[in-house]
């Protein structure tokens, strides 16, 4: 499950304005909507579902990374996007640290395997410090797109 298989390139955001968890999620889902990744009718329902999932336990998994996500019946394949916050956002992370890198995933309800494989790829790439560092330093969406492509081409240790 490469990044190219699920990340909507036009929805990538290099500098999130959001300052808290809900704003981050809204901003990223809005990006997905603007780029046609999701239906505008489903915006609130998706945001609500992602926030509900956060209540079960923060998806701030440590090391400045969060993977907010939900299953949703309106998508027939996994869609996602990536965003970077230069200031960092408090996300109730496991390690208590701010989050700078966000990978948002929306998956169809009946395909847990796709979601798991996406998480596997995301986490594998993030275990490479260079990849993490470059991502955090990204200035534009194009920078991020290129990094994801390089990661897909195995240019970072994995």
């Amino acid at each position: 499950m490469k990044f190219a298989d699920f990340v909507v390139p036009e929805a990538i955001r290099a500098d999130l304005a959001a300052e808290d968890k809900e704003e981050v999620i809204r901003e990223m889902v809005q990006s997905l909507q603007n780029s046609g990744g999701i239906d505008s009718d489903e915006f609130e329902s998706i945001v609500k579902a992602i926030l509900k999932r956060e209540e079960l336990g923060s998806t701030g998994i440590g090391r400045g990374v969060a993977v907010p996500h939900t299953k949703h019946p309106s998508v027939d394949r996994l869609v996602g996007t990536v965003a970077v916050s230069s200031e960092g956002v408090d996300f109730d992370s496991l390690d208590g640290e701010k989050v700078y890198l966000f990978f948002l995933l929306i998956s169809p309800p009946d395909r847990p395997g796709d979601h798991l494989r996406a998480l596997e790829n995301i986490s594998r790439q993030l275990r490479d410090d260079t990849f993490c560092r470059f991502l955090k330093q990204s200035k534009t969406a194009e920078d991020i797109r290129q990094l994801l492509e390089e990661a897909d081409n195995n240019q970072f240790g994995s």
Binding site: G62, V65, L94, P112, G113, L116, R117, L119, S123
Partner: protein, 94 residues
Amino acid sequence: MSQPKATRTVTIVNPEGLHARAATLVAGTVRRFQAKVELIKGRQRVEATDVLQMLSLGAGEGEQLQLEALGSDAEAALDAVTELFSSKFGENAE
């Protein structure tokens, strides 16, 4: 004097596999113990306190993992982790 070591094999029985919430629960549980706990899948060996490492296993339903713990409460640590796997990480909630 070597530290007590414990090993177990667990099978993933929940449909979502070892996803973010499950891995977070494992990390939180393991932190309560002194023992150092690792999960092994094939040639991959990861720390059970590190969610990112655990997610990189991409361990799905039906797969088996080995658990290894080293420390005075190794057995208790693995009891607790095994329980998480067999209770499907309380998966009715999701």
